[in-house]
Symmetry: C2
Subunit: 453 residues, 2 copies
């Protein structure tokens, strides 16, 4: 190891484990440059692995005590966190970031209290580790069971919302994993303060502080280094914009579960109950347009387009939504509806904008979704059972909604208690990921001198 590398390690260790919580989190800068960065990441991954091994024997009581201490410290230090967050907010403001960006970045005292409440909620969830998910006695007398174990070391790579720092850390540790967190540089001061808090809470209860780690290097190359080492992480979870996820995928040599975009469609079938359909459409689009389970496109069956389209447009406009219509929609309504462009198909607006299309039938709706959907959430509104069944069978999405708002595709709404993300890949997890998805199932086989013949 070069002298420069060794220096980086020492600084990193000194910083994270010894620096008092009140010190400036951007304090002593690590050695920058490619070598220093790689050395830091290798060191972080090794320390995370050692912590993961120690967590294997942590009890539920210890892990819950860590969550309780985290919530306590969040409540006690809410003011400090607000101060650190103010530094991040000021920097983003001076860079001319818009109100929505600043809103996502904000973690004031009230928000910190809310994060503490969500930690308490995770504490109340059952511990998945050690659960026996199936078992049998084989004809030869071997006793076989499948048991939940931790994955090991998880890398969480995310943007903006600093509450993810705490949410991800408590979910990972409750499921017996250590976690390397890498949030966006815009939230750096907030995230480092939260990370110090989490590490202190681990120490409080006798768990290894290195179960929660955060790289000090600010370079984007940290992401590639984190996910690029075979066997370094057991799982990488990128959560953020397309550019972030693409960067992780491009460099990953470890398993990745991506939380990709939500291009959610609602198909209004010709047998839909329009009085029931309209509130669902408005809720799915306008209740919280900036999130991944908001609807981005509405497909109206041609057989009811003449009645349905004007009502949908009217109510969308009343809710402040800009409607972009296909030619068949534009033949039915005038301004302020504007003609859709080709790039509106498959677009994740994340805004008060909706694409409105007339489609010939269920086949056409399914084809459109197959081409432009993102495997997140797709909905059909209908009173026809056969149409509901056909749509469910033929659409590929982590969640298919029948006569319900797309907004229900959420770990809380689906009974998971808390979620670390919504997977749009099918491996391991498809849809909202809770504690259970941060574990693996291994086999335990008990014999009494059994040999294979």
């Amino acid at each position: 190891m070069s002298v420069a590398n060794r220096k980086t390690q020492v600084i990193q260790r000194a910083f994270v484990t010894i620096l008092p919580l009140s010190a400036a989190p951007s304090g002593p800068a690590p050695a920058q440059g490619v070598d220093g960065l790689r050395a830091e990441v290798v060191d972080l991954l090794q320390r995370a692995r050692v912590a993961a091994r120690l967590l294997q024997t942590a009890t539920t009581a210890q892990k819950n005590a860590f969550l309780a201490r985290t919530a306590d410290r969040l409540r006690q230090q809410a003011e400090l966190i607000e101060q650190k967050n103010a530094v991040d907010l000021d920097a983003s403001r001076s860079q001319g970031r818009n109100a929505a960006f600043l809103d996502r970045l904000r973690l004031d005292r009230r928000a910190a209290m809310a994060v503490a409440d969500s930690v308490d909620q995770v504490r109340s969830l059952p511990d998945p580790i050690g659960q026996i998910t199936s078992g049998s006695r084989q004809p030869n007398g071997l006793r076989i069971r499948k048991e939940r174990i931790a994955l090991g070391v998880i890398g969480m790579i995310y943007e903006s919302r600093p509450n993810v720092t705490v949410d991800a850390a408590v979910l990972c540790v409750k499921a017996g994993n250590s976690v390397v967190l890498r949030g966006g540089s815009e939230a750096r001061h907030t995230n480092l303060a939260l990370c110090d808090l989490l590490r202190a809470a681990l120490t409080d209860v006798g768990l290894p502080a290195d179960a929660v780690l955060y790289p000090l290097h600010t370079d984007h190359a940290v992401i590639a280094a984190l996910v690029g080492q075979v066997g370094g992480l057991d799982l990488a979870i990128p959560r953020g914009g397309t550019a972030l996820i693409d960067a992780v995928n491009a460099h990953a040599r470890v398993p990745v579960i991506q939380h990709y975009q939500g291009v959610c469609h609602i198909y209004v079938h010709h047998a839909a109950d329009l009085d029931q359909a309209l509130p669902i459409l408005i809720n799915a689009k306008a209740q919280r347009p900036g999130v991944c389970n908001a609807a981005e496109a509405i497909l109206v069956d041609a057989a009811i387009a003449a009645q349905a389209v004007p009502r949908i447009v009217e109510q969308m406009q009343a809710a402040g939504v800009q409607v972009r219509g296909c030619p068949r929609v534009m033949a039915l309504v005038g301004p302020p509806t504007i003609p859709a462009q080709s790039q509106d198909d498959g677009c994740e607006f994340l805004d008060l904008i909706v694409l409105l299309r007339v489609v010939d039938d269920l086949d056409a709706a399914v084809s459109h979704i197959a081409q432009y959907g993102s495997r997140h959430t797709e909905a059909i509104l209908t009173t026809d059972l056969r149409a509901a069944n056909a749509f469910t069978q033929r659409v590929d999405a982590s969640c298919v909604m029948i006569n319900a708002s797309t907004r229900f595709n959420d770990g809380g709404c689906l009974g998971l208690g808390a979620e670390i993300g919504i997977s749009t890949t099918k491996l391991h997890a498809y849809g909202p990921m809770g504690l259970q998805h941060l574990t693996a199932e291994r086999w335990v086989v008990v014999g009494d001198g059994h040999i294979r013949t």
Copy 2:
């Protein structure tokens, strides 16, 4: 699309769908070169995707009829397959391949009949698609269920044994997936004949022939192209040597479940019943040394080394096993036991060779396994319940065996019916992978006008 690319596609289509089964499978060569190769892979992946969509509505009866027709055709065409296999065997013989290699490559009439029997066995397994794995009614009245669906398009990249061609294809299709197969070039004639047979069986029952595809390009770059396209495959399963798996990992832009090496250890605890332990050790090492769940290293507790080591060495030698001993072993026994070298730690011998080490205690055994194990199968032999529990909790492996041979880590022995491989990664599946692991679970939510507030 260039003219060259279009030509490749046409040749590929004409070959796979029209060429009679008796024609030379190496028949019309596709346009070689990088462009031709990429065009072929893009075309294969597109056709596999179309077939996967059609398979979404296939019934269990249709899929089982495909398996029945496959078994019939295997029995009818066993002689043809033996002939094609003879071409591959001759080529490998003239390249000076050893007997073990030729044995893995051989698929004679009798072996073809055995493959047909294994197809019948998969036919008898329950169809995983459509299984409801959990469900609930939420307090707001939303009815939620999780249902098994197919993954989509699976890429199977493997070496040597041509029976994998049939085993993988029938497992993938029974689980509703299309599959792109890429076997080793040494088995090319056999694999193409089997692939033609599988495609004919699909056509027999009205399922899309493109549910089973096999690239014609022989270049190794096909592997990189197959796994390198984001969204092209839903899952890649490499199964073979380290070089193959590393090549897939290096190029993969799709999820990979690797069937990596099996460096399996057996720890003989000081409270082991030696009379029971010895047959287990011999079985684990010598019953079939060339497979991944064979034991490669035995760790003997220092407290019983003086009694245990000579007996183990004697019986291993009687079974034709070469013992490589650590210095503490060499102090107890003489030739023909030879001193172990450092590279013997963590080595997958796949042969009648075993590493024998004396370790201080359970801690030392667990540490050795953490450093050299491959997360496949680890065993403890003991009559002490606390030791068994501690070992189980602290060892990281897809399967932990207590007083049983490592050879039981196998889909058949663990009740899966048939397996497509043994995963040594923890995501999605850890250990033997059966039909269930070729599926995903998606959410279906049925409301009655539900909106989120």
